[in-house]
């Protein structure tokens, strides 16, 4: 990883977000919901990201909101990945009605419009906490990745080394765990990263339309208030730009980590240009005359 600048940048950025998720609420200079007399102020040394129409400090809101975003992203990513591996790999490896049944199940989940379903489920639950939102997103977003894993497993299960393992009498779970799963690492990892991103965007979308953890802050609630108070029309760019940038940064960090995982798992993708020599397939570089 050390000689992979993309992955390193992504990991550092993710690390910063993770640290902020833990200490953000304590770092925040103000109580995020606290009102003051400084109404709708642009960024200043006192309020780095300016204030809302109620005089609340936006910097504190963004800082405090990181925890909820990272928590929901991580939990639902984890839930969805575990489900997709279980369903996808099993559906791909098993033949017959079991495989077909699991495949049909993921197809059904695939065509369910996730966001409206999430809105309905969260509104019918007694309380909307971060955990319930994370679980609902995780339980509804695993199907796409399960299909990808099923397709890849179908291709792997007939490879010679898997056939050899089967002929050797290895047990099914051993074949799946030791012969097939390692070859799916890149797909699983990229699926995880993609689901985390999807979960973060879903949570922010939900908060933006008003479905969020009661009393808590996340980047979506900041955007919700900015929208409902017509920040754009009032020229209060500082209200929505920081939260939007934070979402973009988190997404970029996740994508960079994804590239890094791909290159780590598949050495052929490593295209590090060695000492400024650009490698191109089909046009082998010719080094300048050696100096020695």
């Amino acid at each position: 990883m050390r000689n992979n600048p993309k992955a390193l940048t992504g990991l550092i950025a993710l690390g910063v977000f993770a640290v902020l998720a833990v200490v953000g609420p304590w770092l925040a200079p103000f109580e995020p919901s606290m009102r003051s007399n400084a109404l709708l102020q642009p960024p200043s040394p006192e309020h780095w990201f300016g204030t809302t129409h109620l005089g609340q400090d936006i910097f504190s809101q963004v800082l405090a909101g990181t925890r909820s975003v990272v928590f929901v992203g991580a939990v639902s990513g984890l839930v969805a990945t575990v489900l997709s591996v279980l369903v996808g790999v099993t559906a791909g490896y098993l033949s017959g009605s079991a495989g077909e049944g699991l495949s049909a199940l993921s197809n059904v989940f695939l065509v369910i419009p996730a966001l409206p379903l999430i809105v309905i489920i969260t509104s019918s639950l007694p309380e909307t906490s971060n955990l319930t939102i994370a679980l609902v997103i995780g339980l509804t977003s695993w199907a796409w990745n399960a299909r990808v894993l099923r397709a890849q497993t179908l291709s792997l299960r007939r490879r010679d080394y898997v056939e050899a393992a089967r002929a050797n009498g290895e047990s099914t779970w051993r074949i799946i765990l030791f012969e097939i799963l390692p070859n799916l690492t890149a797909v699983i990892a990229s699926g995880f990263v993609g689901t985390v991103l999807f979960a973060v965007i879903s949570e922010i979308t939900l908060a933006f339309i008003g479905v969020s953890d009661a009393g808590g802050w996340n980047w979506g609630t900041v955007l919700y208030w900015a929208q409902s108070q017509q920040a754009l029309a009032q020229g209060a760019w500082w209200w929505f730009v920081p939260a939007g940038l934070a979402i973009a940064l988190l997404g970029t960090a996740l994508s960079l980590v994804n590239f890094g995982i791909d290159e780590y798992v598949n050495p052929r993708l490593r295209t590090h240009s060695l000492r400024g020599v650009r490698m191109r397939v089909g046009f082998t570089p010719v080094l300048a005359k050696e100096t020695s």
Partner: protein
């Protein structure tokens, strides 16, 4: 003196750059004349394929050409250095002037496209103004050249046998009437009967069309039979180069001798098969002096101290061995 068509001078090819670089081909000089079959032979890992791909700049990363010249003589008498020309020019030159038949025909043909589509693609890409009918005729003619019935044009690769697929690859290489064809172990995966058929086709085609061939193989007996000259490679260097009959009868370098002792002759007196003890050197830790001396039965003190250079020995043959003092020019 025959007309030269491709000259390799002092070619160095590395894998990796800087400290970790491993030199897989070092200071190779080769000359290919018009209409000639030049055989490149050596053990696995001796740098035969690296040389061929390095001089055509087809080596995948982390391969780099570290130095040297590859002079190609164009039909109009001018020359170009393949290592210095622009990418667009190199692209034009490839296939039309220098074509390659790759090692695995199975992997080189697209399994989901008909043979015709793959043949016509080349013709269309390099002469976009030709009519579809003329391209179709040319594709039929090409398959005919390599001895495949024209109705096979609409087959998919999996419907052909291994030998037929290899013939299709040869037909594709010849599609634009190149003057040089580089063949990287084109018959290695085939049995000897098919091998023989394909080589016979190749020899006929060469006489008819007059192209030159660089033929890479580890099968020296094959080369002895149908190539004009043979270059023996060891650890990335050419250790001996001679007219194939001379090399077959009187190999000068102990390594060439060892290779020739490794397979039985069909005719003539019986002789003991000896083979070559040991294995090729690690390119990261090359032995001092001659790279072959740790395995050489006739090694002398000087072999471990100084590396012999390839030069003209008696009888106008090139060899790099202290047993055969050479006149360094």
């Amino acid at each position: 003196m025959k007309e030269r068509i491709l000259e390799v001078r002092g070619l160095n090819v590395d894998y990796g750059v800087g400290q970790e670089a491993v030199r897989a081909v070092r200071e190779v000089d080769l000359t290919l004349h018009r209409g000639e079959v030049l055989g490149l032979a050596g053990e696995s890992g001796s740098g035969k394929s690296t040389l061929a791909y390095g001089m055509t700049r087809l080596l995948p990363p982390p391969g780099v050409v570290a130095g040297g010249e590859v002079i190609y003589h164009l039909g109009d008498g001018t020359t170009v250095d393949l290592l210095r020309i622009r990418d667009a020019d190199l692209r034009r030159l490839r296939w039309a002037e220098i074509a390659i038949v790759f090692q695995g025909a199975i992997n080189s043909l697209n399994p989901v496209q008909r043979i015709s589509a793959q043949l016509l693609d080349v013709l269309k890409a390099h002469s976009p103004r030709s009519s579809p009918r003329s391209r179709q005729d040319r594709a039929r003619e090409l398959l005919g050249l390599v001895g495949i019935a024209a109705d096979r044009l609409s087959s998919y690769p999996h419907e052909l046998s291994g030998g037929m697929r290899q013939r299709v690859m040869i037909a594709m290489a010849l599609a634009l009437e190149p003057r040089v064809v580089i063949m990287d172990e084109p018959t290695t995966a085939l049995d000897v009967v098919v091998q023989r058929q394909i080589l016979r086709t190749l020899v006929e085609l060469r006489e008819r069309l007059g192209f030159s061939v660089v033929f890479i193989t580890h099968d020296l007996s094959l080369l002895a039979e149908f190539s004009d000259r043979i270059a023996i490679m060891y650890a990335g260097q050419v250790v001996e180069e001679a007219v194939s009959a001379d090399l077959y009868r009187t190999p000068l370098h102990p390594y060439s001798d060892g290779l020739l002792q490794s397979f039985p002759a069909l005719k003539g007196p019986r002789r003991e098969l000896s083979g070559i003890a040991g294995s090729p050197p690690d390119l990261r830790m090359m032995p001092s002096g001659c790279p072959f001396h740790p395995r050489c039965a006739r090694a002398m003190d000087v072999c471990g101290e100084r590396a012999p250079v390839l030069g003209q020995s008696r009888d106008n043959r090139s060899v790099a061995c202290w047993l055969h003092p050479v006149a360094v020019n």
